[in-house]
Amino acid sequence: MANSVNMSVKLSNIIFKNPILAASGTFGYGFEYQKYLDLNMLGGFIVKGLSVKEKKGNKPPRIVETPCGMLNAIGLQNVGVDRFVNEKLPEIKDLNTHIIANIYGSKEAEFVEIAEKLDLEKAVSAIEVNVSCPNVSKGGALFGKNPDSVFNLTKLIKSSTKKPVIVKLTPNVEDISLIAEAAESAGADAVSLINTITGMVIDIKAKKPFLANKTGGLSGPAIYPVGVRMVYEVYEKINIPIIGVGGIYNSDVAIQYIMAGASLIEIGTANFINPDITVKIIKGMREFLSRENIQSVSDIVGAAHSM
C-alpha cells in the first residue's frame, strides 16, 4: 500500500523523487554517508557550503550541546569550489539523486565566481545561496538581513547560472517574509528556511563565551517551532516553492513543515545523531500519507493554511 503514495516533487525544472534533502553543513560532500545509507534513496543532498578558496574554519571549541539542540560555529570550513569540482564531485556525480551546491562569499563577486564555475558542472542540479554571511563591502552586515542586498545578490547569481537558484534565509531578521519577497522578485527559484538561530553559551567557570567564536548557530529539535512558524508566514507572501529546514528529526515534524507550506524539506543536525535518519523520515512520511489516504505529498503543501 505504502508504495502507491506519490512522493515526487517538482522545483523549477528538477523532479525530486521525494521531498527529503540532506542539509548543507551536516552531510559533508555526501560520500561520507555512503556506508550508512543508500544515497540514491534521497530526493537530494546539499553539500557543505563552498567558498572561492579553501577555508580552514574557526578555532575550537566549535560546538556545544544545548537542551534538545546544539550551537555551532564551524566557520564554514570547506575545500573551496575548485577542489570540490576536481576531488569531491567525481565521487558523487554518478549517483541517482540530486546534488545541490551550497555557496557563500564575503562579497557579491565571490558568489558570482562560484556560481559561474558550478554552472559548468552537469552533476550539480541546483545552487543554494547562503546569505547568512557578512558582506565585507557593506561593513560586515549579513547579506541576508537586508532585502536590497538579497535582491541584488540573487539577481546577480541568477544571471551567472542557468541552474535553479535557492536562497537560504536567515531567521535572525525582523521580518523574514520581506527577505523572501526580495529573493522572489529577483528571480529566485525557491527559498529555503530557516538557517540557524544565533545564540551563545557562557562557560561560567571561565567567565567567557564557551565557543571560540563567542556566538554560534542554534540547531536541532529545539528550533523546529520557529522554523515551522516562519515557513507558515513566508508561504502566505510568496509563490515560489519553499524548502523547510530547522530541527526536523522525525516524519511528524517533516509533515508539519509541509503543512506550513514547504514543498521540500532539509534534514540537518539529525544526520549527526542517526546517519540514516533521512531514510527513516522518508519511510515515516510515506506511511503517514498512506494511512491518511493522501495520494501525493504535494496535496498537503500548505494544508495548515486552509483552517
Binding site: 554517508y33 575550537p60 550541546e65 539542540g69 570550513q77 545523531i273 546517519p275
Partner: protein
Amino acid sequence: MELKILENIEIASNIYSLKIDNPALFDVVPGQFFMVKINGFDYPLLRRPFSVASFEDDHIGIIYKVVGEGTKILSDKKPGDFIDLLGPLGNGFGDVEKDKKILLVGGGIGIAPFIYLKNVLENDYKISYKAFFGFNTKDEIYIDFGEIATIDGSYGFEGNVVDMVENEIDNNSLIFACGPTIMLKRLAYLCYEKNCDMQVSLESRMACGIGVCLGCVIETNDKDFKRVCVDGPVFDYKDIAWQTL
C-alpha cells in the same frame, strides 16, 4: 544499532562499568570508540563518545564517569535495556614496535582504553610493558594493574602521574597515553625533552563522530585542523599544536 545492556554497575566513586551484548559484527582496535545514544531522540540530543574498555566474544565493555546529565541518565539504565551504538569509530592505537620500551600512561577515566590495550599487548603482541595511572583519590581507582599515583596521596605515589613516570622515560620509550588534556600536554613536553615516541588519544566535544560536523577539530603543527573523530582519536603527539590546547 540497538544492543542489549548486560551490566551497568558502579565500580568506583562515580565510575561505572557498562557491558553490552557483542553482536559479533565487527572487530575493535584498542583506542577506538563508539558513539552512544543515551536516550530517545531529543534529550540529550547528541550521542556521547566512549572508548572501548574491553572487547570479548560475549560483550563490549565501556567504563564511564558520571559528569553531566547524559551520563547520569546512562547510569540509571538496567540490564535488559537496549542502547543505541554507532561504531566502532576512529583510529585506535597503532603499531607496537617490539624493541621499544612500552609505557602506558593514563589519567582518570582516560585509563579505560588501556584495560583493552593491556589484553591485546599480552595476548596478541605478547610483549611486556609498564603501566602508570593517575587518579585524584583512592575512591576513584577502578583498575587492578599498573603503578598508581593519587593527587591527594591516599594511595600509591603522591602527586600526578607525569611526575611518577618521568624517570621511566628515555629515548627508546614508546608511550601510549590517554587522560585529561593538562596531563597529556605536560607529557608531550616531557616527550619532546626525552626525544621519545608517543601515541596519544585525545578527547573532544563531537556531534557526529563520523567526520562530517567538523565540530571536534584540534589544531595541528602544520597550521591545519584535524578531526579527533576520524583523523584520531589517537595521534602522534608531534602532530599536535599543544600550545593551543
